[in-house]
């Protein structure tokens, strides 16, 4: 099951990565004589209401979601590791302060923060840069949850016999972290990474659904899902569901991958 999920995920990510080669048309090209066209040889998944090829937009949109979300998840996990390890090893008031900050970040209404960020961003920021900033902000906001988990794991490692022995032997702190703490946190961090990926994909989709995510003409899974607001049109044009099916497949595959990683822990 896990292997199948990894293969499907790999295929989807590969399709997204090579969108430029696989897409039958430029994602922003408006074929104005064919708005809302049904699937055909020219448009395998039909066109949207501006006549843009849906398959091309899906491939490019998936690239946005499938590449940016893992990048943001990686950054958030790295931040979480840094902060969690620091807090776990330092203990005392440093630990309390860091956990207080984590609680504060967890209670922040991130959606409003992202809206505010979008409102203050220079207007001539290109869609790609604006998207990168959105994901960067998501990763900055996403460290708190994983950091708490990492801190608990660090506490467990810190009280282990081998670490006490290493400390007693006079091993320096940075060596302790690199050679003894980090290897024992690998599974936890991997799990945190996989948990964050779907969260960030959905966050982008939510923002785009509100019209505040990826700017025109760049597609993303979220902007494409916006089409489904016209739910009475789905019956007549079921191929509109393609981005929803794609997102569901990605989420299911990520879930199938996740338990194994947690099992290692």
């Amino acid at each position: 099951m896990r292997r199948a999920a990894i293969i499907v995920l790999g295929l989807l990510a590969g399709a997204a990565l090579f969108a430029g080669l696989l897409a039958p048309a430029p994602f922003d090209m408006q074929f104005r004589d064919f708005p809302n066209a049904a699937p055909s040889k020219q448009f395998p998944l039909g066109t949207d209401d501006l006549g843009r090829d849906r398959l091309s937009r899906l491939l490019h949109g998936a690239r946005v979601s499938l590449l940016m979300a893992p990048a943001a998840a990686l950054a958030a996990t790295f931040l979480a590791a840094l902060i969690g390890i620091g807090a776990g090893l330092a203990g005392g008031w440093v630990e309390k302060l860091v956990m207080l900050a984590a609680d504060l970040f967890l209670s922040l209404p991130w959606m409003f923060l992202l809206l505010s960020m979008r409102a203050v961003l220079p207007l001539n920021t290109s869609p790609l840069v604006s998207l990168a900033i959105t994901f960067a902000l998501l990763s900055l906001l996403g460290w708190a949850g994983p950091a708490r988990v990492v801190r608990v794991a660090v506490k467990a490692v810190a009280s282990s016999g081998y670490l006490l022995q290493a400390k007693a032997a006079g091993v320096r702190n940075w060596r302790l972290v690199i050679h003894h703490v980090l290897p024992n946190l690998r599974a936890v961090m991997r799990a945190q990474f996989w948990i964050s990926v779907p969260v960030f994909i959905l966050a982008e989709a939510n923002l785009s659904l509100l019209g505040l995510g990826v700017a025109e003409p760049l597609p993303s899974l979220g902007t494409m899902l916006k089409e489904l607001e016209n739910y009475s049109a789905i019956g007549a044009r079921p191929w509109m569901l393609a981005p929803a099916v794609f997102l569901l497949a990605v989420m299911l595959c990520l879930q199938a991958v996740l338990p194994q990683e947690e099992g290692v822990r």
């Binding site: 922003d28 209401d49 501006l50 207007l123 290109s126 700017a215 025109e216 009475s232 007549a236």
Partner: protein
């Protein structure tokens, strides 16, 4: 004489035949009404209630666009447009049975002009001027005198609702066809038939025919459509074009296309020298050639066809053809001619280098176009404009902002380059646009609140707007206002894109529906509507 009596009787029989009283009309409002006080109305849901419950002295017939008697049986404008005198109907009562008196009218007019407690309509009535007088005359007459003459004075009274000074129910005692029976926040407003409504049909039957109107509060338009399809609603006012098309495919008789409406979608460039827009870009935006070239490079016909499914017309100028009297018929919508646009830009010093257009300083022509997030229609228009302008080498960054951020930028910080928005025109008289075309006005959006006109053509706009406001003869006013429209089209401070059609959906049970292209499109004759078989 006998023939005349017989004819009148026959006409009465025809008008009365088949009309059934009773039935509760079900429709929705798209947000919560902010007030039930008719003097404080600023939002559409509150206006909906005001329209159905409020009694006015005179009212504009939304079909003929002419003023007609209501609580005043006649009126007279005198002193060169400074004074208006109303003769009131006798024997009229409020919904609670309280008699309608001349004092009620005087109180309403005084409230409108009370400088200490201004209302949204106060500016129009000259409360700032301070020299407005209200006189109760004999013979059930009341007179209102403005400080300065005002063309189209009577048009102002379409929204002046009269409330009782004696009724313990205050503004809840209504003179309109209905009164507010119940309001549940977030759920519905229930209006019941006013048993004392003054109006009768040609057969002498008391109006309204309906026994009530239930207005549900429903923000989601898709849900509104779904409920209409299920038969839970009788009327959908202002239907979106794509919803219209979907419904038409399913129930062709349920949809009504009223033709071009008063609403327009348009783009403007920020020309405010006090804004943070850099000097290079400001130079482009202040160039008439640049604005006209951009206008010519936009394919309006495609926007009408694709975004509005053909239910819109390319706009010719600031006034829609739906505004029958004031529209300048000599104006035509700009033709789509990207090559001509490019030539205009090249003549103005711009150069096409590869796929990009650059200005004299070698700067690529790139600007951001802001619009409100959540408006699917505007997002689509913006995407189409983006592709159209890319063809002449102009790169447009479309930015959707939440509405408060957008308003902050266009009215306070002026930190934007171009904006795409729409205009909902409620009034058809040019006086209602003084706050847009006068260079000193706050809503002179491209360069607001100027101390003196920044350009010669803006000075011309000021001059003609003032001239039309001072002239009393409609034909003379139209001459001046035609000039205003011509200047706006020639100088393109606003690039008008489309005038969308008035679209609605109506249940087959609903009778006497007569769609108008001005607000309130489908229920302007709510007192004459009825449901068959009820």
């Amino acid at each position: 004489m006998n023939w005349l009596v017989l004819m009148l009787l026959a006409m009465g029989a025809v008008f009365g035949a088949g009309v059934e009283s009773g039935g509760v009309l079900k429709m929705v409002m798209r947000s919560e009404p902010k007030t039930f006080d008719p003097f404080l109305v600023e939002d559409e849901p509150s206006d909906m209630i005001r329209y159905m419950t409020g009694g006015v002295l005179i009212r504009m017939n939304r079909k003929t666009q002419k003023m007609e008697p209501a609580l005043a049986s006649s009126w007279n404008v005198s002193e060169g447009g400074r004074r208006i005198t109303f003769k009131l109907r006798e024997g009229v009562k409020y919904s609670d049975g309280t008699p309608f008196t001349v004092e009620d009218v005087a109180a309403a007019l005084r409230r409108l002009t009370d400088a200490k407690h201004p209302t949204p309509s106060s500016d129009a009535f000259g409360a700032e001027g301070g020299a407005v007088t209200v006189e109760v005359l004999g013979g059930n007459q009341v007179s209102f005198r403005m400080a300065k003459p005002r063309a189209g004075l009577e048009m102002l009274f379409d929204v002046v609702v009269i409330s009782s000074v004696k009724s313990p129910l205050k503004e809840k005692a209504a003179l309109g066809p209905f009164f507010v029976k119940e309001y549940k926040a977030g759920q519905y407003v229930q209006l019941d038939r006013n048993p004392h409504y003054w109006k009768t049909d040609p057969a002498g039957r008391h109006l309204p025919y309906l026994s009530g109107v239930r207005i549900e509060i429903q923000t989601n338009r898709e849900m509104e459509l779904l409920r209409f399809r299920r038969g839970e609603l009788h009327l959908v006012n202002q239907l979106d074009a794509d919803m219209f098309e979907r419904l038409q495919a399913e129930k062709s008789k349920a949809v009504v296309d009223g033709g071009p409406g008063l609403e327009a979608e348009f783009i403007w460039f920020n020309q405010n020298p006090a804004s943070p827009v850099g000097t290079g870009k400001m130079k482009w935006f202040q160039s008439t050639a640049f604005r006209l070239a951009v206008s010519e490079a936009i394919n309006r016909a495609d926007i009408c066809r694709i975004v509005y499914h053909g239910k819109a017309q390319p706009a010719a100028g600031p006034v829609s053809p739906a505004n029958q009297f004031w529209f300048n018929k000599s104006l035509k919508s700009p033709a789509y001619q990207p090559q001509e646009a490019l030539k205009k830009l090249q003549a103005a010093g711009f150069v096409k280098r590869g796929d990009a257009l650059v200005d004299q300083a070698g700067q690529p022509v790139v600007f951001s176009l802001i619009t409100n997030a959540g408006s699917k229609i505007r997002e689509k228009i913006a995407a189409m404009v983006q592709q159209d302008l890319a063809k002449i080498g102009i790169r447009v960054n479309v930015v959707t902002l939440d509405f408060p951020s957008l308003i902050e930028r266009i009215t306070k910080s002026y930190d934007y380059e171009a904006c795409l928005l729409g205009l909902v025109n409620i009034q058809i008289d040019p006086n209602s646009e003084m706050n847009v075309w006068m260079s000193s006005a706050a809503n002179h959006q491209w360069n607001p609140s100027q101390k003196r006109p920044a350009t010669q053509w803006e000075a011309e706009l000021d001059k003609n707007m003032l001239a039309q406001a001072a002239a009393m003869e409609p034909a003379k006013r139209k001459l001046y206002y035609d000039l205003v429209q011509k200047i706006v089209v020639e100088q393109a401070p606003f690039l008008y894109l489309i005038n969308r059609n008035t679209l609605a959906a109506s249940s087959p049970l609903l009778r006497n529906l007569s769609i108008s292209n001005s607000y309130p499109q489908t229920f302007w004759n709510v007192d004459e509507l009825y449901l068959a078989g009820k």
